[in-house]
Amino acid sequence: MTRPERGKLDARGLRAAPSQVLGAVRLVPLVRDEPLAGLHLYAAPTHADLTVVRLDPRTTYTAYVPHALVAALPGHGQAHASAGTQLVRPRAAPEAVFRVQMTQRLARREGDGLRLLPQHLALEAYLSVGFGGPDVAWPEYSREVLSRGLSPRVERVRRGDAVRGLDDALRVFELYPGQVGVLVFVADAFASAFVTPCPEDYRRLHRTLLEDMYGELLVQYAVLHPDAAALWGRIDGGAVGSLADLADAVAGLRREWGAFAGLMASGLLDAEFDVATAQHLGGFRLQRFLPSFNPHAENHVGEAIVDAAGRLAYLQTFRLSAAQARRGRLLSALVAADWEIAAAAEALGTSREELLARLRNNGLERLLKAHVR
């Protein structure tokens, strides 16, 4: 893992096509005019109820991981590609065996390929912020955090099938010619981005979006705003006197709709990230990135595979909830200040007392000694 560098995503070669909406879910196709040659992606189902990944001799990452992604150079294990297209259905009958899969790393080289656990690679980067705990025994911290760090660090996420309407939206979604990716919006809030190297890969992986992780907020949005799209596109009947007028009005509707600039609306391209390279494969690099934890912006974690020129071959993101972003902001501020509360408070533009209160209010109270005020 390299040291993180500040950077932006490079979406050269990708453009957004007109979106399709069903209920609260808007899917914006991402299209490449030229497929990105030299890399293929496919999914390998894990069939495990729980996946335990050994990160280092003392640290494990435990999560439900529906499938791994394999990124392969041309000529690698093509026989596997078709097996990867099968999605695991939720089991109809309970099994007596609870399957646990043990894995060595979140991303590892396999011959000419690279096996990674999508989204989990990014989420683990988020969970590891400040995970080790304070190096200096500042008086405010609890004995537990001084000896064990933040372990266990737990965050809750939801599976795509909990987002109401996503299943139907993915099923009736009509693939766009040359489509290699998609932006998912729920009630027009940007949820996630997914990009693959070429249309065949996307076609195979389209349905895996249903097994991806989504934040609680998006599950709520889907329930609260089931018909977000209905607010768009009404024709003013008063101005229509003929079929030709009606045709003009439809053309206007289509222009208005096409102007929903997916990539711009996502805010992904403007955001600055801390990018670290995790693996190399041929001329490609696997990176994972963390947001700046700005409380007034959306915060997305993600992983990407970029080619030698820095162009995105693969991208998958996860939107942190507001509470998760606040925890990330507090922890990264503490890390940057070597865990000195007063210095971190100053960097955050607040007082020591206020910072202590915020740590408590954001689910990080176990960092602190009980009596610290």
């Binding site: 799209a229 596109g233 509707l253 289509r254 709709w257």
Partner: protein
């Protein structure tokens, strides 16, 4: 194994056709086309179904692939509706979305259609309305996404502003029942939506929908129902006769 095409009812025949590989459909185009016409003709004759000028808007977009269980069912229903309406109508125009490629060729370009592309229903509906036919049948799963809701808006404004007396009756025929409430998904409240699982129900369903849409006079409804009853009795008699023959 050879399939006796004339033994299949229209909907099953259409499902058979649209699940054949394209090359086979192309090679057997004449044979399939003739069988489809005969199957549609049998329904039209049995129900003595006569229509004036008809335009059909037929959806073969990606979502017409249907579910895994009902593979290509929506496309099959669109094809069945196409053959039925053409047999029954005096004047008939078909508007597919997306339109068939210009070089499709053969006796019937619709035979060679595959589910593909986004659903622009607004454009073919506008084209269908242009000739002011007495009936416009929109056969679509109701997922209208280019632009989203465009077809519903066109139909609403057409009914409210351009044709309030409903001289052109528009009916939305939906081959797909929504998973949540088991009802067909509507394009707009401004036109009736009927759910059709079997193309042979189309004449009856369309006739009822026309009463809903056009607010037809009571006399017309009486005559229509009398004809349906007579037909039902006839079918029963035929069925009984067949049952008698089957007795040992």
């Amino acid at each position: 194994m050879a399939v006796d095409l004339d033994a299949l009812p229209l909907t099953r025949l259409c499902t058979y056709v649209v699940t054949r590989p394209l090359a086979e459909r192309r090679a057997r185009a004449e044979e399939l086309h003739a069988a489809l016409r005969r199957a549609a003709g049998r329904i039209v004759e049995r129900q003595r179904w006569r229509l004036g000028s008809v335009a059909a808007v037929l959806d073969r977009s990606d979502s017409s692939s249907g579910s895994e269980e009902k593979h290509r069912r929506p496309l099959a229903l669109a094809l069945a509706g196409h053959y039925l309406l053409r047999e029954a109508a005096e004047r008939y125009e078909a508007c597919w979305t997306p339109p068939p490629p210009a070089d499709a060729g053969g006796p019937e370009p619709a035979l060679l259609l595959e589910p593909s592309g986004a659903t622009d229903l607004a454009t073919p509906i506008l084209a269908a309305l242009r000739g002011r036919p007495s009936l416009v049948a929109v056969i679509s799963d109701g997922y209208d996404n280019d632009p989203p809701g465009g077809a519903g808006e066109v139909l609403r404004v057409f009914r409210e502003r351009l044709d309030p007396e409903a001289r052109s009756v528009v009916v939305h025929v939906n081959p797909v029942f929504d998973a949540d409430d088991f009802s067909p998904r509507a394009l707009t409240p401004a036109v009736p939506t009927i759910g059709v699982r079997d193309a042979s129900d189309l004449p009856t369903m369309l006739a009822f929908a026309r009463f809903a849409a056009a607010d037809a006079a009571l006399d017309g409804l009486h005559a229509f129902l009398a004809a349906r009853v007579a037909e039902l009795l006839q079918e029963d008699a035929a069925g009984d006769a067949a049952a008698m023959e089957a007795e040992p």
